[in-house]
């Protein structure tokens, strides 16, 4: 019987070893500090002047030396406990905890806008987090389930956003017509990208998808006549709710009835915020329900199987081409939907919103969430998008905290926040119920 080997504890290190290690870290810090801290550009009336700040480099090196030494001393004494605890973490959860936590999260998300602290800023951060949750769940189909490393996912997000912006601006199509169109266009481009990369795996696939993401961005940037280039598209109309408009009545005459008028309440921008919050909640929940459903169907199960063993899949009659294409297409269509929503919410889009860093963030959410865990993705999105956005006024420190959080997670939960894979069918729910055998006396091992 084979078991996954336990994570190796770092070898118990001697003090001299720790000092040498800290010295090395200090050296790296000093080298990094030369360009980062060593110079300062002063702008004055006489023009630019360069100030050399050599002591800063020493301070940085000293701080890193002390910090690294303290950290490794602490780790040396604490590591066994930490390891013990983090090992128990995943195992302690009974299998239906995920379901309970899921319902609690959904309930929380539903009442969130009504809570006393939910001011416009909070709601806007929550909406942003939900966009990334949806993108994470969508990308999870491609990366987490099908195991295809896609670094250009933002391209489909951009396609969704631009298709809504262009269709509504040029042809006057409403949000509700554009939403499915954006999904279909996303899927179409997913297949378009999928075809040439089907034979590629791992690193090669990552590079090609990365290139695809950039190609789309560069096209949006340079196809001035259609996309208005770097200036982007402004004044994208807001979606309506059954024809009721959320436009501010103070910005000009409304087209059709306003939502506030219809209800006979005074207009408030919060109505719009509530509306888009619930809209993205609905879209995101739709994404995860769809993904969960797919996992139980042959197609979805084939995604997971194909990632595990391609030879076995082929010998069972599975066509890898259609299986991979379906994963690409479905993942991309959810990005298209999210992009459509994004354009509608912002009212303004430009290629700047669809750079590689977005793909990287979404991928980080999926990986940190634990590759395939739906709830893990929610936690990771809150951590990676929600917190930095909320602490935006802390400026550059938030990026340091971001990096620190990533490092800590990878130390304590190298498989991601929630890395357990849930079976798609368990005893008592599938056909296996009737065949649960009497407890066998002998064990074959």
């Amino acid at each position: 019987m084979t078991r996954v080997a336990d994570r190796q504890a770092p070898p118990a290190a001697s003090l001299a070893h720790l000092v040498r290690d800290a010295g090395l870290a200090a050296l790296v810090a000093a080298l990094l500090a030369v360009p980062l801290l060593g110079f300062r550009l002063n702008v004055s009336a006489q023009g630019l002047s360069l100030e050399y700040r050599l002591p800063w480099i020493l301070y940085a090196a000293a701080a890193v030396f002390a910090g690294r030494l303290l950290l490794s001393l602490a780790a040396r004494s604490l590591w066994p406990q930490v390891r013990q605890r983090s090992r128990g973490f995943g195992a302690r959860f009974p299998s239906n905890t995920n379901v309970i936590v899921g319902w609690v999260l959904i309930g929380g998300a539903l009442v969130l806008p009504w809570l006393p602290f939910a001011d416009p800023r909070f709601l806007s951060v929550a909406t942003l987090v939900l966009i990334y949750v949806m993108l994470g769940w969508g990308l999870n189909i491609v990366v987490g389930l099908a195991g295809l490393l896609d670094l250009g996912y933002v391209a489909f997000y951009a396609i969704g956003a631009y298709s809504f912006a262009l269709l509504s601006m040029n042809f006057g199509l409403s949000f509700w017509i554009c939403l499915p169109l954006a999904g279909i266009l996303g899927a179409f481009f997913g297949i378009l990208l999928g075809f040439p990369v089907l034979r590629l795996r791992g690193d090669y696939l990552a590079i090609v998808t990365l290139g695809f993401g950039e190609i789309i961005r560069v096209i949006l940037l340079n196809w001035q006549a259609v996309t208005n280039g770097p200036d982007g598209i402004t004044d994208i109309p807001r979606p309506t709710l059954f024809g009721l408009s959320f436009e501010s009545p103070f910005r000009g005459p409304l087209h059709g009835t306003g939502f506030a008028d219809f209800l006979g309440v005074p207009y408030s921008p919060m109505q719009w915020m509530f509306f888009i919050y619930y809209l993205i909640l609905l879209l995101a929940l739709g994404t995860t329900l769809f993904a969960q459903r797919m996992r139980r169907l042959p197609t979805g199960r084939a995604w997971e199987a194909l990632r595990e063993d391609e030879i076995a899949c082929k010998s069972l009659g599975m066509n890898p081409v259609t299986v991979k294409l379906s994963a690409f297409a479905i993942g991309a269509s959810f990005a298209g939907l999210a992009g459509c929503f994004f354009a509608a919410r912002q009212g303004f889009i430009s290629p700047e919103s669809f750079t590689f860093i977005e793909s990287a963030t979404i991928l980080a959410i999926v990986v940190l969430g634990g590759m395939g865990s739906q709830i893990g993705i929610v936690l990771a999105a809150m951590l990676l998008v929600g917190l930095p956005e909320w602490f935006r006024n802390l400026a550059e420190y938030r990026m340091i905290a971001f990096g620190g959080a990533m490092v800590l997670i990878m130390i304590w939960r190298p498989g991601g926040l929630l890395s357990r894979r849930d079976p798609t069918v368990t005893l008592g729910e599938g056909p296996a119920e009737s065949m649960r055998p009497a407890p066998a006396a002998e064990s074959p091992r």
Partner: protein, 243 residues
């Protein structure tokens, strides 16, 4: 049922099969035994379309399947249990078995699962266990069980004894004989463990360096002194010693 004619195949520019002819009749257990590296796995994989045959032909139930992609061959009623088992390690036993039914009508699944668990009762205790945590013998049973769920008319087994204790091998081969007898299942068995395979087989042949050198019934080959010397004495078999 399966006819292989003048099959040449290999990897890159290196030829591993130099014109192989094999027939498998319906309902029999046919085995190919041979030393490590003789090309047995290559033969089975080429029959399944991966790698593609360089020349020669493969007929299944009279239909030419040479050059068909592997997944289409998998849908024709040929179930291939590849060397090294290739189960899905992160999926549960039950999910593994369900993947076996990927290309068949799902309504058959319940009955087929019963059928498979009747052959491999050990798997019944482990339906919700991850495939990767099974013992080697159980993994092989799972791989064969998964293949049976795909309702094949012919079972291709590549070294099911690989890495298993002798007792487990005997148990497994008895079950293979049962499957052949009870379901009239045609079995094409590739083995290095010549004694166990020849004991089981109705007909057998010996493969040396990409060629079939000896043919006969299982009993005939078991009794053949040259075969005994080369494959049954525990001594390292050398290709030249086989007639």
């Amino acid at each position: 049922m399966l006819k292989v004619r003048g099959l040449h195949s290999g990897y890159g520019r290196i030829e591993a099969l130099h014109g192989v002819d094999v027939d498998v009749e319906a309902g029999e257990i046919m085995t190919v035994v041979g030393a490590n590296g003789a090309g047995k796995t290559t033969l089975l994989m080429t029959v399944c379309g991966h790698p593609r045959a360089w020349s020669g032909e493969v007929l299944f139930e009279g239909r030419d399947i040479t050059g068909l992609p592997m997944f289409e061959i998998g849908r024709l009623g040929i179930a291939h249990v590849p060397e090294g088992r290739h189960i899905f390690p992160r999926m549960t036993v039950l999910e593994n078995l369900q993947m076996g039914g990927y290309a068949v009508d799902p309504r058959h699944f319940d009955a087929d699962l019963q059928r498979v668990l009747a052959y491999f009762p050990q798997l019944g205790n482990r339906l919700s266990q991850r495939g990767g945590t099974l013992s080697g013998g159980e993994q092989q049973m799972l791989a064969i069980g998964r293949a049976l769920i795909s309702r094949p008319r012919m079972l291709l087994l590549d070294e099911p004894s690989l890495g298993l204790a002798p007792l487990v091998v005997r148990q497994l081969f008895d079950i293979i004989a049962d499957i052949n007898r009870d379901e009239r299942m045609t079995v094409f068995l590739i083995e290095q463990n010549a004694f166990q395979a020849l004991r089981l087989a109705h007909r057998a042949c010996i493969m040396v360096n990409g060629r079939i050198t000896t043919r006969g019934t299982g009993a005939e080959l078991l009794a053949d002194p040259a075969v005994q010397a080369a494959y049954l004495e525990g001594a390292a078999p050398s290709a030249e010693e086989a007639p």
